[in-house]
Symmetry: C2
Subunit: 445 residues, 2 copies
Amino acid sequence: MKTALDFLFNPRSIALIGAAHSEEKLGGILLKNLLKYKGRIYPVNPKYEKLMGHRAYPSIAEVPEEVDLSVIMRPAPEVPGILREHKGRAKSVIIVSSGFSEVGEDELQDEIRRTGKEAGVRMLGPNCMGVYNPYSGLDTFFLPPETVKRPKKGNVAIVSQSGAFLHCIFGIMRNEKIGISRAVTYGNAVDIDESDLYEYLGTDGETQVVVSYIESVGDGRRFVEAAQRLSRKKSLIVLKSGKGSRGQAAAYSHTGRLAGSYEVFSSILRQFDIREAGDFDEMTDTMKALSFQKQAKGNRVLIITNGGGSGVLAADECMRQGLEVAPLPEEKMANLKKKFPAFYGVHNPVDLTAQVTDEDYRTALGELKEDYDGFLIIALTGLAGITEGLADIVKDFRTETEKPLIFHTSCGCGAGMLVNRVERAGIPVYLSPERAVRGLRALLR
Amino acid sequence: MKTALDFLFNPRSIALIGAAHSEEKLGGILLKNLLKYKGRIYPVNPKYEKLMGHRAYPSIAEVPEEVDLSVIMRPAPEVPGILREHKGRAKSVIIVSSGFSEVGEDELQDEIRRTGKEAGVRMLGPNCMGVYNPYSGLDTFFLPPETVKRPKKGNVAIVSQSGAFLHCIFGIMRNEKIGISRAVTYGNAVDIDESDLYEYLGTDGETQVVVSYIESVGDGRRFVEAAQRLSRKKSLIVLKSGKGSRGQAAAYSHTGRLAGSYEVFSSILRQFDIREAGDFDEMTDTMKALSFQKQAKGNRVLIITNGGGSGVLAADECMRQGLEVAPLPEEKMANLKKKFPAFYGVHNPVDLTAQVTDEDYRTALGELKEDYDGFLIIALTGLAGITEGLADIVKDFRTETEKPLIFHTSCGCGAGMLVNRVERAGIPVYLSPERAVRGLRALLR
């Protein structure tokens, strides 16, 4: 049986209340996006007979079927009346309109909560951008895909209270070559909230990682239970904002939900083993690692580097992250000393110096693969001995063992092609040693 | 009078001991780099009469003048003998060779310290890459400039114990469009160390910001005094690695100097008001801000955003960084409410929503410029109302007042051209809200 959230992510038919004829209006951008979707689309606007070549309807009542999804983009004061007309005409509704609790209009927001319930529709929003599903082609975002480009298909779902966060994360995901499975913004959350979305994504076959940006939580107990359930099945990463008093005030004015004490929130997450990212960049690093590779047990890390300083910075970050840069077993150390020139550093980090060749990484990985739980490869390019062939070496390693392996190189310096090949082989690349370690940390339990 | 370090950064004549004929050897890459320099170059190699079309000399003794600088690239065991020959033949020496304390050869290192002193030369290294001065064209790095591209000329000097760090920071500086004034790596520091280099850079007219990557400090008291003196004149940013026991071991095997207790080191920096970056990315963010703009007093920050969620994350980070996101003065709030649509958030952060236009930023900045000490502009692109014209608005603001102003946008989404124009106007752009706040923090005292 289809649930309300199936209708939201995979509707067979969609009405757009507030469709416009031109892309200069948000209702026009959205209509153009929806017209690419394979379902039946019904533009609603009493002023037009046709919009973008498609028949327009004066109201939801005139649309020839009960739609799976209706998207409402009309000024806030009109929304209660529009919702009333939806009784028996739509299974789910996205209210894009803003102008509710986030600007102090609490009564209006209460009215739509009540009216929507009476009309028997499940509601996403208000003050939201709705949903994006690259697998079905559904895209209710009013951001033109030509300028706000969508990430490629993949296994990461984004659940965001904020549209701006989604906008930023789309940019980062494209930059970092992280694929997306679903995206949803839920704004003021009068009905569907993060807990409902976690439940849906827990059973969604295309989603392996869920990134959840939260400004405030309505029902704390329900949230914790849903987050725990989801964390058992998939990787959930929570980024909470509104941490301080000013942040809380800003979060309130943004979605109209009270942010509550961050300290309490964060300690509850820790207690229930729900993963939290400290800031946007940590969220990015964690998401990237979990999207590329599976988690494994253990905390013993081997660092192999051709830059001594980078190895030291990485070792420092391992310590801060509770990862153990354990010494090399004596026997293995003796073996490697025979294989490597005398000036190589045969410790952990293994320091291959500027005289490095690609094959040195294979030698070190081969000798030590059984002795560690996770591996960090640091390869600064621009040296004659580092070539794109290194991508094959790390790929071979990952074929032999599924142990987490992360790659760091510095940007520029002809690193682009190497980075592409390494990432195509399923190994995430990071541009600073500390960020690479944070990625590896996410993969080790 | 010229000091030893002037000879190092602006030599009139250079000998290269261990010059090679081909760029497949480090001694060939380096010779090619040096031949582009305007001073007199003397390749030294007893096996050749000519190298790259230039007369080669069998030893430093045969070179026809006492050189300002000699660069030594011969195997470690030969270095003491070579140094002895330098008596009266060179004012300063860079010892590129590795194979000393960093691989346990402490006696050999003591020997070169003693021998160099007896020969009356100042020494940089061993186990280092030497110096880069884009203003004079000197480049002793054995990294080919075609693959490890150098940053553009600018005001940031890099003082690094590690060559790998330099390699990474070159990539980042090019990526972030940060200009360089000097770069120097000093490796095992048998003679010239960070304190000498701070002293030199304190008087260097092209340098405004000094980034110092340190794995270990020889003479702690001398370091603190030199760092304090430099911090009074210029912006010094210290990045210390070798923080934990494994990091310390790695740092030891990398340069052979003992790293010492990080906690003590860090608390001394705090006590003497010497700026420390926690990791590579914080170093980058701080360096970028200080390279682009001057510091100012105060800690009251105004955030203007077109993305609510980004504003909240920025406000959170302000709190963590001790910056005050102070409420708008009531009168100004009333003025802005008259000028803006009702659904704009007229608080701090000012939320211009997705309906934003460029001119809204001018309106908000104009109204509030006297009320805050630092400004963060968040402009997510891809919306019709955000154009490249925003670059002129922030440029105008910076012309009127020198108060720090930092810019955040998300990557991709046609942001490239806007970012270029904003940065050309002297405003640093950051790709995450928290990193932007860390940049602003560096500019507010």
